[in-house]
């Protein structure tokens, strides 16, 4: 039972993260050995832009913009953040000379794990709602009554709220390290 739970519910999320790491290592090694090392620098820029673009979802969620469906924008946010993180990991490689860029990468990985956890919690929440709705429907309660009951299902909302208090500050810690890295590059590098 516990094994099935792990395979069915947790493994897909773990695989999302493990695939990210493996793909980053392979791509980095490929570019390093095939004479395209110069591309690595630009992957950092591309990855950063992808991650910034993925925040359209956050703007929509906070009603700062009004276009697009939240569900679709969330999926785009997940995909773009994953690809952006991959490009940044490939860009960063395995050199550990400077602390600031390393901290940025480390913070980014924590944010990715946090994001994957959020995705898992959201799926769990949806499943709980579905089960609760089915249960209430079985009791033959009127629709408005069911909606009220579901609205009061605060347990899930609490969990997601708790997750948000971790995910958003972590994202901003990553943003601070990334910004410091970008500023120092702009200050010291010759473009």
């Amino acid at each position: 039972m516990a094994f099935r739970l792990v395979i069915k519910k947790i493994l897909p999320f773990v695989l999302t993260f493990v695939t990210l790491l493996i793909a980053a290592v392979l791509l980095h090694l490929f570019l390093h050995t095939s004479g395209y090392k110069w591309v690595l620098r630009y992957l950092g820029i591309a990855g950063t832009f992808l991650i910034i673009l993925s925040f359209v979802y956050s703007l929509r969620k906070r009603k700062l913009i009004k276009f697009g469906k939240s569900k679709l924008l969330l999926q785009i946010h997940e995909a773009m953040a994953w690809v952006g993180s991959l490009l940044i990991l490939v860009h960063a490689g395995f050199e550990f000379d400077a602390v600031i860029p390393r901290m940025a990468v480390f913070a980014m990985l924590i944010v990715v794990v946090s994001g994957i956890t959020g995705k898992y919690l959201l799926k769990q929440a949806k499943n709980s709602l579905k089960e609760k709705r089915a249960e209430l429907l079985a009791k033959k309660l009127p629709e408005d009554e069911i909606e009220k009951e579901l609205f009061a299902l605060s347990l899930i909302a609490d969990k997601m709220q708790m997750w948000r208090t971790v995910h958003i500050p972590l994202t901003l810690i990553f943003a601070a390290f990334a910004l410091l890295h970008i500023i120092t590059i702009l200050l010291f590098w010759q473009w």
């Binding site: 050199e95 000379d97 400077a98 602390v99 600031i100 860029p101 901290m103 948000r164 208090t165 958003i168 500050p169 972590l170 994202t171 901003l172 810690i173 943003a175 601070a176 390290f177 910004l179 410091l180 890295h181 120092t184 702009l186 200050l187 010291f188 590098w189 010759q190 473009w191």
Partner: protein, 297 residues
């Protein structure tokens, strides 16, 4: 609540990070180890970098005067061993930035600091005078001893290989193939029998070993019934100079003798003298008859 906590996390990280960068720049933002001689500057980024502009030549030459490179150290002390090559190189470069050739943060070794060097940065005249820098590297093999031409006639600045050697550069010695290619002479009966009296150029050209220019058709033209398989006519273990046409059932010595005597031909041992191919038409006969007549006269 989340907003303020997130803002606090951002500001705190940015602040701590900035302080870290200012106090410990080498630890926090250095992208790689400096070369040994620059290590003393490791926490003084601005001694080489100009904010917003990168590394400018004016800062490099502030310490490294071009005319003194290879002669005196940065501190002004004369070097025990003068590096004239380095001095010549740095004094003949055309308008370029130091960073066009030199890199940093690439490891302790000075070798890694010149990975970007390109010969194109040198003055055009010096680019052609390779030996000024590379004289000890000139190979002392058979080819290079014979050559007096500039290296750039065969090699380019991208690398020693591939080279574009032309045999014409050897002048009169271009036909002395064996002085360079002795070890490449094929180890087979044909070439063993040729010996050293015949020059390679009689059958081969400097464009390549194959195709050979040896023209067997001047002696005998191959066809479907007479393919160019040496052992059909020659005893390849003994000599390619001798041959026989009697190795097949078609050419029987008794029958050939009778046929020729019937026509009054007595000199028929050297078949190809008259029969230059498998065709019935006798191409070499007239010439042979003339020779026979001249012989009688």
């Amino acid at each position: 609540m989340v907003k303020s906590r997130a803002s606090m996390a951002f500001l705190l990280t940015f602040l701590v990070g900035s302080i870290g960068i200012i106090i410990f720049p080498y630890l926090t933002i250095n992208p790689g180890v400096l070369t040994e001689n620059h290590l003393a500057l490791k926490n003084d980024c601005l001694s080489c970098h100009t904010l917003g502009e990168g590394v400018k030549t004016k800062k490099c030459v502030g310490c490294h005067q071009l005319s003194m490179i290879g002669v005196k150290s940065v501190s002004g002390k004369s070097r025990d061993i003068i590096n004239s090559k380095s001095n010549l190189l740095h004094n003949s470069i055309i308008k370029i930035q130091c960073t066009d050739c030199h890199t940093e943060h690439n490891g302790l070794s000075r070798q890694n600091a010149t990975l970007n060097f390109k010969h194109e940065t040198l003055a055009p005249d010096l680019q052609k005078e390779c030996v000024k820098c590379h004289s000890p590297q000139k190979p002392e093999d058979e080819i290079h001893i014979l050559l007096k031409a500039e290296c750039s006639n065969c090699h380019n600045t991208s690398g020693w290989k591939p080279s574009h050697f032309k045999h014409e550069m050897l002048g009169d010695k271009k036909n002395e193939c064996r002085s360079c290619h002795e070890n490449k002479r094929p180890d087979n009966n044909l070439h063993d029998q040729i010996g050293k009296t015949i020059q390679c150029v009689q059958c081969h050209t400097t464009n390549g070993w194959k195709p050979s220019t040896y023209d067997h058709s001047k002696l005998f033209i191959f066809d479907r019934d007479h393919p160019g398989n040496c052992s059909n006519c020659h005893d390849v273990r003994k000599s390619f100079k001798s041959y026989t046409c009697y190795n097949c059932h078609e050419h029987n010595s008794d029958r050939i003798r009778k046929k020729h005597l019937k026509e009054g031909i007595r000199k028929f041992k050297n078949c190809v003298e008259c029969h230059r191919s498998g065709e019935k038409e006798i191409e070499g006969r007239k010439e042979s008859n003339k020779r026979n007549k001249r012989g009688k006269n």
